[in-house]
């Protein structure tokens, strides 16, 4: 054996020439490994598999013609996209491969963008440059960002689309939650277009809190806000009993009395109000448009603009309720609630009704001794530490700056800058979702409080946060689709003051400023007749047959109505046309008749609208039976010609009518002068 080995050695390395030759051969073999590895690479294997797959299919010829071998890439330098995913994912654009079982070769689901427009990693993340499965999809030693789990995929859209998209419900919901739960009171979120995400939860000022509620209620509320109202957005700080005692002591101690002070409830109005009258006034005033209340069946009924009122009688003191109902501006000049002009009897009725809405259990077990100065001092320290003033106005504490980490680029945060705890998946989505789910799990000293979110809400918020990437910040502005920003429009003069007092902008939008609960009034002066407007302000009625909700009645005085109507008729006019340019007197009966034909046959308007309450059943659009009393003919005419031009986004279809048709239809509609919808219903 040994001899054999020796002989072998002699054969190959016996003398210098043999040794040189053998070493050279070995070197050559070793050098050949490099090109061999190149040749047997993973992507070639996938391309062979793909060719094998398509050969067996009916449209093999077409597919083979589309096939291009070698490394494929989507290269968009200005977006820093170099995606070689299509080297293996060869069937992305092949509609006929939608049914293929292998994900690698299946057609990409239909999306609004071309696949080559933004590449793959812009939305999916992962390593675009890679040409191996492991490197492209996973987090590896040299690459931190793996593929984004499919449930967060809408985060990709959110990098460019700052506005709400119908295709991204999850992202929209997450963004809405971030705004409505006031995340950005503490965290700064600067979007790619330079705008900041502003909260809209409107947390109340606590400067006069002692006028409004009791220390017992404050204590119970701080301990668990959701125990009082399930819809409460305030998070739970998990304060100990002692800490809650001290914070409530401080909150009450810093409160100063309102100026001028609240009036005590008069003895004679304190008699138990008629519950039926209260319910009916609550309904007539459309309080439920903004406020929710649990009904007898335990169902939550009402809007979420204002706070839930199920236990308002336990929370608010009677004299405060009375003052608030009479004029909310007194307690909170910044409130979104309109100033209803209730008379004294109505105030008493509504106050009594609200007082009867109690949750006695909420404060039943709270027994607090009078606060000591030490407790107040400790409570103040706790209030500062927990950042209470980030959301609430509090006497003696300034709003802290940058109280919590900025989240503008949280979606690109390197994992090595994050501290993970057990039970949290070691990935960015895992971290973000974990933080939203249970912030205190990351350390007892962390300040972020516990919000109450459903798992679905947590995923939505995580999606919205993951959209805040470096790419979203650094991409060229042309890529960005900005969100609609509210303008700073404020009407001037007496009418402006009045509109402010009535909080028109809580529901209506005018010149890009205001809410979306009620119609946009920017061109209301062109659209309607002054007489109709004054009638409506005096006694609002619903304009749509399927809608019970309507504008609340504010009990305006005639002078106020005149001021408003004058202002609106003068100022809110479109520059496009003159509202008086089409006098009704021009129309002749033949045109009216032609319009009727068009309405009922050619355009079948009755599918959605009601022109005649006796026969028509359309309920999608507003009833038109009183068009002649409500609108100006010019508005109707131009509306028919191009509805979207007058109100972008309206679902009224553009029928591309000829001028004559539109004129005839206008003549017909302007001839409709029956009573309002309610009047007609009553008949």
């Amino acid at each position: 054996m040994k001899n054999n080995l020796h002989a072998l050695w002699q054969l190959f390395f016996g003398d210098s020439a043999r040794a040189f030759g053998s070493a050279s051969v070995i070197l050559l073999v070793l050098l050949a490994v490099a090109p061999a590895k190149n040749h047997f690479s993973q992507w070639r294997h996938y391309q062979k598999q793909y060719l094998h797959l398509i050969r067996g299919r009916a449209d093999a010829v077409t597919l083979e013609r589309h096939f291009q071998g070698g490394i494929q890439q989507i290269w968009i330098p200005e977006q820093q996209v170099t995606d070689r995913c299509t080297t293996c994912h060869l069937g992305m654009k092949e509609a006929s491969l939608a049914d293929v079982s292998s994900v690698a070769f299946r057609e990409h689901p239909v999306i609004p963008h071309k696949l080559t427009e933004f590449g793959c990693t812009t939305c999916h993340r992962g390593q675009g440059a890679a040409t191996t499965v492991e490197e492209a999809h996973s987090a590896t030693e040299q690459w931190e960002q793996p593929l984004l789990p499919a449930k967060y995929i809408e985060a990709g859209c959110g990098q460019c689309h700052l506005e709400n998209q119908t295709g991204t419900p999850f992202l929209n919901q997450g963004r809405q939650l971030i705004v409505s739960y006031g995340c950005t009171h503490c965290h700064t979120i600067k979007q790619g277009d330079g705008t900041y995400v502003t909260p809209d939860d409107d947390p109340p000022s606590l400067k006069h809190i002692a006028d409004k509620t009791t220390r017992e209620w404050v204590y119970a509320w701080i301990k668990d806000p959701q125990a009082y109202a399930g819809t409460a957005t305030m998070p739970n700080y998990h304060l100990s009993d002692d800490d809650a005692r001290d914070v409530s002591a401080f909150i009450l101690a810093q409160s100063t009395p309102l100026e001028p002070p609240l009036q005590p409830v008069k003895a004679d109005t304190k008699t138990p109000a008629d519950p039926a009258a209260g319910t009916s006034l609550y309904g007539q005033s459309f309080c439920a448009s903004c406020h929710a209340m649990q009904n007898a069946a335990g169902m939550m009924v009402g809007g979420n603009v204002g706070p839930e009122l199920t236990g308002i009688g336990t929370k608010a003191k009677p004299e405060w309720l009375q003052d608030w109902v009479a004029n909310p501006n007194h307690y909170d000049p910044g409130t979104m609630m309109p100033h209803y002009r209730f008379d004294a009897a109505q105030v008493a009725t509504l106050t009594g009704f609200l007082e009867s809405k109690v949750e006695p259990d909420f404060v039943a077990n709270v027994h607090l001794d009078a606060a000591t100065p030490e407790q107040v001092e400790h409570g103040k320290r706790l209030a500062v530490e927990n950042g209470c003033a980030s959301c609430h106005e509090i006497n003696g504490i300034k709003k802290p700056e940058n109280f919590a980490p900025e989240l503008s680029r949280i979606g690109s945060k390197p994992l090595n800058q994050l501290i993970f705890v057990e039970g949290v998946e070691h990935s960015l989505p895992g971290y973000v979702a974990g933080k939203v789910r249970n912030p205190r799990a990351f350390g007892p000293s962390l300040k972020m409080p516990q919000f109450k979110f459903t798992p679905q809400q947590i995923d939505a918020i995580t999606t919205a946060l993951l959209a805040l990437t470096d790419r979203a910040q650094s991409q060229p502005p042309t890529m960005r689709i900005a969100s609609v920003q509210q303008s700073k429009y404020q009407p001037a003069g007496n009418a402006g003051q009045l509109m402010g007092d009535l909080r028109c902008f809580t529901c209506h939008m005018i010149n890009g400023h205001g809410g979306d609960m009620a119609p946009d009034l920017t061109w209301e002066g062109t659209a309607v007749q002054r007489e109709w407007l004054t009638q409506f302000l005096k006694n609002p009625e619903t304009l749509r047959p399927a809608l019970i909700r309507r504008m609340p009645k504010f009990n305006l005085r005639d002078a106020e109505i005149n001021t408003l109507a004058d202002y609106m008729m003068t100022v809110y006019q479109t520059p496009e046309f003159d509202r008086d340019s089409l006098p009704v007197s021009q129309f002749n009966p033949a045109q009216v008749e032609q319009g009727r034909q068009l309405f009922y046959s050619k355009f079948a308007c009755q599918s959605c609208h009601i022109a005649d309450y006796k026969n028509d059943k359309g309920y999608i659009g507003p009833a038109l039976a009183a068009t002649g009393k409500r609108f100006n003919a010019a508005w109707v005419y131009y509306w028919l010609k191009d509805p979207q031009a007058l109100r972008p986004g309206t679902i009224e279809p553009n029928q591309h009518m000829t001028d004559d048709e539109a004129r005839a239809l206008t003549a017909f509609l302007m001839s409709l002068k029956s009573g309002g919808a309610q009047g007609a219903m009553k008949k």
Binding site: A34, P35, K37, I71, A129, E135
Partner: protein
């Protein structure tokens, strides 16, 4: 057969074109051999004659030659790598990825460069130890020892400047630490750091500076010093033959 080949080779060597390039011509005489070495720009660095003993493995373990071999590999692979590399912040790391994923045998090229660099550092040290323990640094070779030490420094600097070029976290922090060490020098520390980085932070300027150092200044300096190093071997009496009086004959 062999004769035919020899004759053919002689014919080529006697050719006018050949003679215009290699002027020494053919011949077995000492003069011819000496001329061959002297009149060639590359060979003239070397001695015309060497002791047979100094060419054996045990004399030097060929450490110097191996070091030079790795240097050649580094120059060749380095030039090839330069074809794929942009010394710019957004592109540098992406170029690494391209080498890894799409350049034919790109990984092989990078690895060859990297392992040769490691080998060169190792061999330089081994070469130094061999020279030191054999006592080959003593006069008249003391100046060549100094050149060798400078070449060691060149090797280390090449290694260090090359480390930044992939522009990954390792590179970034290595240079951050290195430049902070430089700034610890009294009085001129901060200036040195600024000079080194071309700014106050490890960024685009530092990357460009290290690239130029790695690909131009240091290799050029190394080539010049290597040439002097080789030339001095001849001038200092050839490779150190060892303590005992010469055993082998000159050849």
């Amino acid at each position: 057969m062999a004769n035919t080949l020899d004759r053919l080779a002689d014919q080529v060597r006697e050719n006018r074109i050949w003679r215009s390039i290699f002027r020494s011509g053919t011949g077995e005489s000492n003069l011819h051999r000496a001329l061959t070495v002297q009149q060639n720009v590359f060979l003239h660095l070397f001695s015309v004659k060497a002791r047979k003993r100094t060419l054996e493995f045990r004399a030097t373990w060929y450490l110097g030659a191996l070091t030079f071999g790795t240097f050649l590999i580094l120059v060749i692979t380095g030039i090839l790598l330069m074809l794929y590399y942009h010394p710019s912040v957004p592109q540098a790391y992406a170029d690494m990825k391209d080498l890894q994923f799409v350049v034919s045998s790109g990984v092989f090229l990078r690895n060859l460069h990297r392992w040769s660099a490691h080998a060169m550092v190792f061999l330089v040290f081994a070469h130094m130890f061999k020279v030191f323990y054999r006592g080959a640094y003593r006069p008249p070779r003391e100046f060549n020892w100094v050149i060798g030490v400078v070449l060691l420094l060149m090797t280390l600097l090449l290694s260090y400047t090359g480390y930044l070029l992939p522009w990954d976290q390792l590179a970034f922090w290595a240079v951050t630490v290195g430049s902070n060490i430089a700034s610890a020098v009294p009085v001129i520390g901060a200036k040195m750091r600024f000079l080194m980085l071309g700014g106050t932070a490890v960024n685009a300027n530092a990357l460009l500076r290290f690239y130029v150092l790695h690909c131009v200044i240091l290799p050029f300096a190394a080539v010049v010093l290597i040439a002097i190093h080789f030339w001095r071997i001849r001038k200092d009496g050839g490779i150190y033959p060892g303590e005992s009086p010469a055993e082998g004959d000159a050849k």
